[in-house]
């Protein structure tokens, strides 16, 4: 009979929300928290969160961690761990069934396993589209690159987490780095775009240098400024 494992333990890289504290005044924290959460209460429901105390480590005696944890829970958040606290805080955390994470400034030796995992980041597959993107259509590559093998019409919109490549005329709107990747770029064979944007920095057609219209171009951020260059 073949051996089938019942379970396995594996290192995994997760994205977690971190609450960075810059002040240890309980009242100020409560107030600031209420303000933040009231803006999008639904967004925070059941969200796992790490409490980071590194920034207040010199002056955390007054911080009431157990009250903070309770407060977060009343808002619907799920505190899962504490990072960068002192011995007292770590003890409170353990008593409240929270994990203790290593301080990122001084990684402990047992972190090597995790760092190994981090060394092989998952490379998301590019999204490749063969057909023209027509006016009114929208194509999104939520992870990785977006590659279009034909033209993108005026009034169409293409978006990508990373780079955008258009092997044809780009007439619509192209937004690269939509999750904030400021290294993302837009490449196209003929530039007639309605709008170009990288990591939220954009330019509309009217602002493009005239000598670049219709040319093969590369668009990227340089010191937070959008740059369009002939290829």
């Amino acid at each position: 009979m073949k051996y089938k494992p019942v379970l396995e333990l594996k290192g995994s890289l997760l994205t977690l929300m971190v609450l960075n504290l810059f002040n240890s005044d309980n009242e100020l924290i409560a107030k600031a928290l209420a303000e933040k959460i009231s803006k999008a209460p639904d967004f925070f429901q059941q969200v796992p969160i790490v409490i980071d105390l590194q920034a207040v480590e010199d002056n955390q005696a007054v911080l009431d961690l157990s009250e903070l944890v309770k407060l977060l829970r009343t808002y619907g958040l799920t505190p899962v761990a504490v990072r960068g606290g002192n011995i007292e805080h770590n003890e409170i955390a353990l008593n409240m069934n929270l994990g203790i994470l290593n301080n990122i400034k001084s990684p402990a030796p047992q972190l090597t396993l995790e760092t190994k995992v981090a060394a092989v980041p998952e490379i998301p597959a590019a999204k490749i589209i063969r057909d023209p993107i027509r006016s009114g259509q929208q194509v999104i590559a939520e992870k990785g690159d977006l590659i279009i093998l034909s033209a993108v019409s005026h009034g169409a919109e293409i978006l990508a987490d990373r780079h955008i490549h258009v092997y044809g005329a780009l007439r619509g709107r192209a937004l690269a780095g939509i999750n904030g990747d400021n290294k993302a770029q837009i490449f196209c064979q003929q530039l007639y775009a309605d709008l170009l944007s990288v990591a939220g920095k954009y330019q509309v057609n009217e602002d493009f240098p005239e000598d670049l219209i219709g040319k093969s171009t590369q668009t990227y951020l340089e010191q937070d400024k959008l740059n369009i260059k002939k290829l």
Partner: protein, 265 residues
């Protein structure tokens, strides 16, 4: 095998109804049993262009609602053998068109006709979607100006996403570009897009070009599809389009106009 062909554009007033009448008449002239359906519910002008407005008793919506049967609603053309018209209702709105109802009628027509031509209303809403939904092929009617081309582009996108062939992952709708109201003089003055410009933006195969022509207005007003007037530029252009659609090389034209040069004939 019968074929459903939608005449569509997005924009209004570009020549869909004119083309539907001419194209259907042309196919019938070539011996194909053809029906042309007016999907422009609420406006109803196909029957005017076809010159049968005074013979309308029942319409498309009556048939969908089961208030009349197809044979009662179909109007037989008086001039051309094999040609029938299914008029739209003037008193209902486009919501009266249901997918189920349209499907049932098209299925019934398919048993009897070689070609079913659907004259689409303008816009990208319900009525236009109903007209294109079951199509096997599409004639995209475009004027050589920016807004018309943009709307056609949008419609082409919908043909590949909002139709039965798209949704059921069947072979895609065959698309043909038809540029109408073309005036070479205005292209040369830079007031209109050239054929090449339009083709480049829309990137679908060109079936033909219809010149701007006063004859078309005359034809519509007298209720005689322009294709029956073989002496006119526009009539000839439509005849050529039908021939090309049927897979033939169109005949040599005496006058070396822009379209003869365009197609190298």
């Amino acid at each position: 095998m019968s074929k459903i062909i939608v005449i569509t554009s997005g924009k209004g007033g570009v020549g869909k109804t004119t083309t539907s009448a001419a194209f259907a008449t042309g196919l019938a002239l070539r011996g194909n049993k053809t029906v042309v359906i007016d999907f422009d519910v609420g406006l109803r002008n196909l029957d005017l262009v076809m010159g049968c407005e005074r013979r309308v008793v029942y319409d498309f919506i009556n048939v969908i609602n089961g208030e009349a049967n197809l044979n009662q609603a179909l109007i037989k053309d008086k001039r051309v053998e094999n040609l029938f018209i299914l008029p739209a209702s003037q008193t209902r709105n486009k919501d009266a068109l249901t997918l189920k109802g349209v499907a049932r009628i098209l299925e019934e027509l398919k048993k009897d006709f070689d070609y079913i031509i659907c004259d689409s209303p303008a816009g990208i809403e319900h009525g236009a979607i109903m007209a294109m939904y079951f199509a096997d092929e599409a004639l995209i009617v475009t004027n050589p100006e920016v807004s018309s081309v943009r709307d056609s582009d949008r419609i082409i996108g919908m043909l590949s996403s909002k139709t039965r062939r798209a949704m059921q992952k069947m072979p895609a709708i065959k698309e043909h570009l038809l540029i109408t109201r073309y005036e070479e003089k205005r292209v040369n003055k830079g007031e209109m897009l050239s054929i090449k410009d339009v083709q480049e933006i829309l990137a679908i195969s060109l079936l033909g070009v219809i010149p701007e022509s006063l004859e078309i207005l005359k034809a519509s007003n007298s209720g005689i599809p322009v294709i029956l007037n073989k002496e006119t530029d526009a009539g000839q252009a439509y005849l050529d389009i039908v021939a090309r659609f049927l897979g033939e090389e169109p005949p040599q034209r005496k006058k070396k106009g822009f379209f003869s040069r365009l197609f190298g004939i």
